[in-house]
Symmetry: C2
Amino acid sequence: MDITKIKILFPNLEEGLHNEILKHGAIKEVKAGETLLKVGQTIRSTMLIIDGIIKLYREDDEGKEFFIYHLDAGQACSLSMVCAAKHETSEILAKALTDATVLAIPLEFMDLWMSKYKSWYQFVITSYRNRFEELLKTIDAIAFSNMDERLEDYLEKQVKKLGANLKMTHQDIANDLNSSREVISRLLKKMEAKNWVVIHRNSIEWIKSPHP
Amino acid sequence: MDITKIKILFPNLEEGLHNEILKHGAIKEVKAGETLLKVGQTIRSTMLIIDGIIKLYREDDEGKEFFIYHLDAGQACSLSMVCAAKHETSEILAKALTDATVLAIPLEFMDLWMSKYKSWYQFVITSYRNRFEELLKTIDAIAFSNMDERLEDYLEKQVKKLGANLKMTHQDIANDLNSSREVISRLLKKMEAKNWVVIHRNSIEWIKSPHP
DNA sequence: GTACTTGTGTGACTTATATCACGGTACCTA
DNA sequence: TAGGTACCGTGATATAAGTCACACAAGTAC
């Protein structure tokens, strides 16, 4: 982990801040599939994503996991910021989708930097705005769209992050969308008929041309 | 509008800040039902709610309005904060549920106060956290709950804000929940059978005892 | 009063999604 | 190579919700 990487990932932050991040951030490596943050866990630091992709979920009482959005390298977990600032517990579940590296910034720096570095304040505000927007889009999807549209959105999102070859089972998708395997299977079949995907065992290939 | 009211509404803000708010905030009165903020509108100020209740909606392409949450006196529109900070346009629709008074703070003070007043920063962060939580709860409701539970939640929320006598039609409720009148009518009938409500014309009365 | 508007109740039907019950297939493992 | 396990396909059926059609009742306008 070196300063150049930090600078590339967070280009909008001030000079001195890059150093501080490097100095005070604790590096944490997680393997794909590992849980970074559980619901109910107390948050003691703000997380910046250095490498990999993190998936955020909302959990219901029976433990069903509903996918909300991704976090990429260069982004911050807004939830960890809000919660951290008030020493509160997590409302969400975060899992590493790929192997990932995150930088945990102890919460005292959150406040300190906020007044010291204008760029940090901007970064935090921007993070919020973006996460807020993602949440609103998620609400749109479940409030206004049917499963077929949601599946399409979902797959496109995944493809954007992971490439056209998605290594996931129908069951995985169904879990993320809070649906059932059979439904997803059938919808995928329809998409295959429209030449949007090729279905393999344990993976699907997105071949839909962007501009039909 | 006097300083004592501001102090009562925003008890956690610093002394000097109350004065600044009073000095720089433009008072805006809106009648019940009026629109405060349209989707796509550019946001030039942060809004603090002084009096009344504001309802926030998400709109779909056909103009259907999906209720997200309420804002009460003493709260701020987080969306207006995020957007204002970046000179961006609104993603949501805000309507006055009751007659209301809001204070519009020009966005330059947003940044200024953020570095000048620790309590302002805390206030903004807290607002975010609370709105974020509301959004997550909204997602829970539509992702995990059926219409009957959602209706119950919705009515309880309304009752908390407006009292047990809700002056609204079944159609109004259906719009907020993105459902249809007939469905709401039927569900209300069931609730009436369980002695949770009394249905009148143009109004319903919530009589469910809190601890059965 | 009559006519017109708005809100409500209800049965019949449609549609989207979930669930159940299988059977088949690829892959692993001993 | 046999048996087990996870994945996938598909028909049958169930359920929640949305839609259509229409009757009626309460309020409003004149």
